[in-house]
Symmetry: C3
Subunit: 363 residues, 3 copies
């Protein structure tokens, strides 16, 4: 499918310059772009590579001297990275999932599908489930009994939505994502070694054998609008109330969100983040890859963590955190620099002790 430069610019609300009738059928990096592709050159460094490719048109920054790179047309964006969002949506050719309801599906007669819903082969939809209008349920998915999915959802291959999960509009789930697995919640007849360690900070552990009794997860999961869940990520159901994911939040691959957790609005949880049970995240929280958050703490609005950070205590709003255990980002960097110099300092300390000792003796 081809679009003219004028059409693209109009759709994105941007300025088009030059021969805006030029047609493009895709986008590419400047050096690799063919004549029918739009070169993406968001920064001067990239634009310099345009002549290595064959692009006739490009997307550049506001004020770029686009003719100087040999282009015949350009789309100029004041924030090109943001413009890429709309552009990439226009150019996405999708996964080609089956349109309509495939014959080889098992859809309970008590399930309700909205208008223009597609269901791919080998998908199962349980009793009492609702799927909102215009949703595409890919192949090999499972939507449990009583689950509610809002309009415009896209479930990629092999997504599992458990019973009694409630999801808003515009939901996207990548392959293998699981919403509504059971929480990891067990209890021993008598206080366990873990409970004692929490009280004594490790001065007492208890190797006595006690079997774990299962606490069933009676709650569900409630997910707001415009949420995306990554490949093989998992959001567990709550014990009594629902686990909650706020509107606009995006969750990356292999992330684990435990039972009873509340994640606020417009958060980003990057790859392999883990959030333990009953913790609460505010709005606009951004957790770097492999960040861990222990159970039963509160993380304020706008908190940001570096990769691999471990949050072990409540964090006030607006704070940038780093490290294991987490401290304020600038303090953490200072500490780690000090740790690197520590071996040398220890040698100097030993010398200083000797020098002082001599002085004391010589007094």
């Amino acid at each position: 499918m081809s679009h003219s430069i004028a059409q693209i610019a109009a759709a994105l609300g941007l300025e088009a310059v030059g021969d805006t009738s030029i047609l493009v059928s895709g986008v590419n990096e400047p050096a690799l772009a063919r004549a029918d592709q739009l070169a993406l050159a968001m920064k001067p460094d990239f634009a310099a590579q345009i002549p290595q490719g064959s692009a006739r048109a490009g997307m550049l920054w506001q004020g770029a001297d686009w003719r100087s790179f040999g282009l015949r047309a350009a789309i100029l964006a004041s924030r090109p990275r943001h413009a890429l969002s709309g552009l990439s949506a226009m150019m996405d050719s999708g996964q080609g999932y089956h349109r309509g309801i495939h014959d080889l599906t098992v859809i309970d007669p008590g399930a309700e599908l909205g208008k223009a819903v597609s269901v791919g082969p080998f998908t199962v939809i349980g009793a009492g489930a609702h799927v909102g209008a215009g949703s595409v349920i890919g192949p090999q998915c499972h939507v449990g009994q009583g689950a509610v999915i809002g309009p415009g959802a896209l479930l990629h291959a092999g997504v599992r939505i458990g019973a009694r999960v409630t999801i808003g509009a515009g939901f996207i789930a990548q392959p293998g994502a699981v919403i509504g697995g059971d929480g990891f919640s067990y209890v021993t007849p008598e206080p366990s070694g873990v409970e004692k360690v929490r009280e004594t900070l490790g001065r007492e552990s208890d190797p006595d054998a006690q079997a774990w009794a299962r606490i069933h997860s009676l709650g569900g999961v409630t997910i707001g609008d415009d949420v995306e869940i990554g490949v093989n990520a998992c959001i567990d159901r709550g014990t009594v109330r629902d686990t909650v994911i706020g509107t606009g939040t995006k969750i990356d691959n292999l992330v684990q969100v435990g039972h009873n957790v509340v994640v606020g609005r417009n958060c980003l949880l990057c790859g392999q983040v883990g959030i333990a049970g009953s913790t609460r995240l505010g709005d606009n929280v951004v957790l770097g890859g492999q960040t861990g958050v222990v159970d039963n703490i509160t993380v304020g609005d706008g908190v940001i963590t570096g990769a691999g950070t471990m949050l072990m205590a409540n964090v006030p709003a607006g704070r940038a955190m780093l490290g294991y255990p987490a401290t304020k980002m600038d303090a953490n960097v200072e500490s780690y620099k000090a740790v690197r110099r520590l071996p040398r300092m220890m040698r100097e300390f030993a010398e200083l002790k000797k020098a002082v000792s001599k002085l004391v003796e010589g007094r």
Copy 2:
């Protein structure tokens, strides 16, 4: 389904007081409980919220003044959290998986299914597999050839059990769990860079290209009774002998257990834990979320780790560990406090050196 307070208390072996004929059809938090729900108020803090809801009956701690919260009936438990285990099992309405053998399944004629086994749509069961009586195999599962699953199993949607895996009674696997993937085991024709680094602690690496030859995993996985495996978690098969998971052990979401690993009885492995090949865990080991355990070490009975701990060497029984690399929990906390004070101490150290230097000169 409704139960009277008397019925619930009898089933759980607990004391019921007040109008024990009151019927409830579910449980809820005190402030949210409706008149037909049992308020869960395990602690005084929670009980204080009962009047905000409409509950007529609640579960409280032994000795609670339940009438003072406006309740007409109560179940009193000496360890309420443990009582929640039985209560939640009674109240769990489940996933509603298909009962009986669904038509759209592929079950090898050589597979043996016990009495009252259910198999959901789009599930595949291989030649020579045995599934114990009363098991529920959910939709879209795969049970490999020669796999043995004990009675009373519950395999959620999309679980994969590989060939020659042996599992005891009462097994539960959450969606997407994989038992019996191949171990990650490769070898180079000549000693590789990794082998040299292990010997020299990093003073020699080897960027020479050597291709990796695959070592096939000929062993299986043996799992005891009452084991639960979390969402998208994976237990690899052994190289020659089986990987082993002991009776009563519970494994959370996205956990990785490598080839040849032996996990003891009644262990808890929390979310995103990783255990590398050939390591042995004793009984009652509890590994906090994102804990890593390197290959070929031994972790004693009753060892407990904090979140994000990395065990890099053998750990004696009963020890509480924390940190990267792991040390005893209390020592680790002391070290980290010291690290936070280190930048200031280094400035003081620089001053002290000057002061001593002056003294030396002034002598």
Copy 3:
């Protein structure tokens, strides 16, 4: 299936000694080996256990005095661990996946399957996909439209290959692996808190609510020959160009490779490794379990990391790295030893300050 000792040795290009007509049908550890199994005794420690089992033949190291362990035949290998590669391939009885094209599949008429391709039940293959000769596509897999898989592939149960993914010869994917999920890439209309934190190192965070706009992933994934991907691991597609995995690279369970990443040849990425977007790894890189690599950095050829390492900056070729944040392995070990001694040193420092203070006063 039985093989004689002579046959096995010939297939592996190794020396056979003794009664090489003895037949074996499997391998085992020395103490457990039955009379029809080959005892694996790569080291003297293991060989000493041969008499505890019933093996008549074993695989030992070059120069071993095999008769002294009671064996009647032996295969001698100069690098026995490498010999295990070929031996284990001979002895692997596999998963028993369906051979031929199963009836209960959905294969688009526009897909091209090479000679002798097998496709298991409940698998979906999209329009324009190519599957190379001799490949075995297991049950419940999904191969997206336009995906290309080279000859000799083995896709285990539930593998998902997205649209426009290109894979070379000899590919192996463990159950639940996902190639070609969408990249995790979002942008705010105005610079976000994360962008400010990157510039200011955490002195400014921004709790203002801004919704995230999605950047669609238009690129694919290109995978070389002889690549293996672990259970539930995921390789995301690129934004504009392809994410790339080089020939001979092996990726373990639950590994995350982000969008636009380039992984070189013959790398090993161990369990739960995470690589953030647009980072480049050279050839022969070995990342230990749970290693993290931040986005947009370059890791040189032959770099090796210890378990749990976090690479936060470019790493030159050939370096062995450890720690959070990563430093050279030997320096890191020295630093951590110093940290353990730090609390004691701080007490000594306080004493030294007092001593110097007295000296200054006494002057």
